[in-house]
C-alpha cells in the first residue's frame, strides 16, 4: 500500500466520520412529529347536535351584564419536563397586537381575555418563552418533549389545583397556525400551552414555528 493511497483512505475515513456526525446531529435535532392533531380539532368542534332545534324562543330579563366568575391560573407544574412556573395574567402588546408573553423567561403568561380555569368551555391559553437572547433557556424550553399522557397541574387563584393530561403536541409555522382554534371560547374545556420552535432566524431573532401542546382536564389533582 502506497503512502498516497493511505492518505486517500484516511481522507475517506474522515469524510465518512464527518457525514455520520452530521447525520446523527440532523436526526437528533429533527422536530418530534405532531401527535393528537385530530383530537384537538374534535375539541374545537362546536357543531350543534341534531336534536332539539325547535325549542321555544328564549326570553330573559335584560339586566346589565355582571362580570362572570373568572379563576385565573397562578401556577403551573409539569413534572415530566421539570417545570414549576408562576403564571401571570397578560393581554396583547398595544403596538404589535401580539400575545404579551412575560418578559421574565422563567414565568409564563395566561391570556386573560380568554377562558379562565372555571370556564365551562373553551381553551385556557398559557404561553411561555422557549428561550431569550439575554436570559437563556425559558420555562417552556423542553415543552417539545411532552407526549400524550403526560400530566400537568395548574393552580388557580382560588388555591385549587387542577390536573390535566396531554393529548396533543403540534408544530405550525407561525404564518399558518390556526390561532382561532387555540384561542376559542367555545368547544370542550382544554388547556393550550404555546411556545416557539422550529428553525431560528438569527437575523430577525425569531423562530419560524409555534409549538402547541393541548391538554384536557384529568380529574382531581394527585397529592403533591
Amino acid at each position: 500500500m502506497t503512502v498516497r493511497n493511505r492518505g486517500a483512505l484516511a481522507a475517506m475515513a474522515a469524510g465518512a466520520t464527518a457525514l455520520t456526525v452530521a447525520a446523527v446531529v440532523a436526526v437528533a435535532a429533527r422536530p418530534a412529529a405532531d401527535v393528537g392533531a385530530d383530537e384537538v380539532a374534535a375539541l374545537a368542534d362546536t357543531a350543534p347536535s341534531a336534536a332539539g332545534s325547535r325549542s321555544p324562543v328564549p326570553v330573559r330579563k335584560g339586566e346589565l351584564p355582571a362580570g362572570a366568575e373568572i379563576v385565573p391560573p397562578v401556577g403551573l407544574r409539569i413534572p415530566a419536563i421539570g417545570v414549576t412556573a408562576t403564571v401571570n395574567a397578560v393581554g396583547t402588546n398595544p403596538q404589535t397586537n401580539e400575545f404579551e408573553v412575560p418578559p421574565s423567561v422563567d414565568q409564563v403568561g395566561w391570556y386573560r381575555y380568554g377562558p379562565g380555569l372555571a370556564a365551562p368551555a373553551g381553551s385556557v391559553v398559557i404561553a411561555g418563552h422557549v428561550d431569550s437572547s439575554t436570559q437563556g433557556e425559558g420555562a417552556f424550553f423542553r415543552l417539545r418533549e411532552l407526549d400524550q399522557g403526560d400530566r400537568l397541574t395548574v393552580t388557580g387563584s382560588d388555591g385549587q389545583d387542577r390536573a390535566y393530561r396531554v393529548i396533543a403536541r403540534e408544530e405550525y409555522q407561525k404564518t399558518k397556525i390556526p390561532l382561532e382554534r387555540y384561542f376559542a371560547r367555545d368547544g370542550d374545556q382544554r388547556l393550550t400551552l404555546i411556545t416557539c420552535g422550529g428553525p431560528f432566524d438569527a437575523d430577525t431573532r425569531r423562530y419560524r414555528d409555534n409549538l402547541v401542546v393541548t391538554a384536557v382536564p384529568a380529574g382531581p389533582a394527585a397529592a403533591p
Binding site: R4, N5, G7, A8, A11, M12, A13, A14, G15, A16, T17, A18, L19, T20, V21, A22, V25, A26, A29, R30, V57, P58, V59, R60, K61, G62, L64, P65, A66, G67, A68, G91, T92, T96, N97, E98, F99, V101, Y113, V130, D131, S132, S133, G136, E137, G138, F140, K174, F183, R185, D186, I194, T195, C196, G197, P199, F200, R205, R206, Y207
Partner: protein, 276 residues
C-alpha cells in the same frame, strides 16, 4: 361513425355544461335562503304583550325590560302585531306590516315609545364584526320618550346628542365602566350611574327606554358574544437555543465530509488503476 363520434362528444359537452350549471346553481342557493338572527326588546313600560309574527303567536306575555331570542328567521318581510296578553290578534294594540329582515344580518327589533310617547317598532342591525383583542363594543340605543341624551363613562362623554330611535357605538378597552346618561349638553343625570361590565370580545347593547315625563326611564341590556379576535401571534423565543434548523457549521461539516469521501475515493481508484 365520424358523425356519431362528434355527436357523442357534443352530448358530453352539453352534459358537462349542464352539470356545471347545476353545481353553480346549488352552491348559489344559500344566498337566497339566508337567515337572520333576530332578537326582540320590550321597551314599552307597563305593558306586557303577546307578540305575533305573520299572524302566529311567537312570544307569550312578553314583559317590559325583557329580551327574547335570538330567533333564526328567513330573510323577507314580516308583519308584526302586539296584543295585550291573551287577546286576539284582531285587537292588537300595535301592528307594523312588512318589516324587512335582510338576509345574513343580526337584528334587534325594539317595541318602544317614540319621542312623543307613541308606541312603535324600530329595527336595529347589530354590528357583529370582530373586535380587536382586548376590546369590547358598547352600543347605546335611545328608545325612550325622552329628549336627546349624552352617555358618559366615568363622567366623560362617550356618546353625545343621542336621540330617539338612534344608536351610537364604540369599541373600547374591555373592563368595568361607571356609566350614566345625562340630558344632552348638561350635567343632569337621567339614568344611572351603574357599573357596566364590558367583557372582551362581546358587544353590550344598552337601551334607554320608558318615559321621562312619567319618570319611568330605565335600561334594558342585550349581549352578543363571540366577537373576539386572536392575538396577531405568539412570539416566545429570541435566543435560538432551541433551533431545530440546520446551522452553518452543519452544512460545513456535511460538505467537508462529502468532499473528503469523494476526493479520497477517486484517489484510491486512480491509484489502484495505475498500480495494475
Amino acid at each position: 361513425m365520424q358523425l356519431s363520434y362528434s355527436r357523442r362528444v357534443a352530448t358530453g359537452g352539453v352534459l358537462a355544461a349542464l352539470t356545471f350549471a347545476g353545481v353553480a346553481a346549488l352552491t348559489a342557493t344559500p344566498a337566497y335562503a339566508a337567515t337572520s338572527e333576530v332578537s326582540a326588546i320590550h321597551g314599552i313600560p307597563g305593558t306586557p304583550v303577546d307578540v305575533y309574527l305573520n299572524g302566529a303567536k311567537t312570544l307569550d306575555n312578553f314583559a317590559p325590560g325583557e329580551v327574547a331570542g335570538p330567533l333564526s328567521l328567513a330573510a323577507g318581510a314580516y308583519d308584526i302585531a302586539l296584543t295585550k296578553p291573551g287577546e286576539p290578534v284582531a285587537d292588537a294594540i300595535l301592528t307594523v306590516d312588512d318589516v324587512e329582515v335582510l338576509g345574513g344580518t343580526n337584528v334587534s327589533m325594539a317595541a318602544h315609545l317614540d319621542a312623543s310617547g307613541q308606541p312603535k317598532i324600530t329595527s336595529f342591525v347589530n354590528d357583529t364584526s370582530k373586535v380587536d383583542a382586548g376590546k369590547s363594543r358598547l352600543i347605546a340605543r335611545h328608545i325612550a320618550a325622552a329628549p336627546a341624551m349624552d352617555v358618559r363613562a366615568g363622567g366623560t362623554s362617550v356618546f353625545t346628542n343621542l336621540t330617539n330611535s338612534n344608536e351610537a357605538k364604540a369599541d373600547m378597552e374591555a373592563g368595568t365602566i361607571k356609566a350614566d346618561a345625562v340630558l344632552a349638553g348638561t350635567e343632569t343625570v337621567t339614568i344611572g350611574p351603574a357599573d357596566l361590565e364590558l367583557s372582551e370580545g362581546t358587544a353590550t347593547i344598552v337601551y334607554a327606554f320608558g318615559s321621562a315625563d312619567a319618570g319611568t326611564l330605565e335600561v334594558v341590556a342585550q349581549t352578543i358574544t363571540g366577537l373576539h379576535s386572536t392575538p396577531a401571534g405568539v412570539p416566545s423565543g429570541s435566543g435560538g437555543l432551541a433551533d431545530t434548523g440546520a446551522s452553518t457549521w452543519w452544512y460545513l461539516l456535511a460538505g467537508a465530509g462529502a468532499l473528503l469521501l469523494v476526493g479520497g475515493g477517486t484517489r484510491v481508484a486512480t491509484t489502484r488503476r495505475s498500480n495494475r
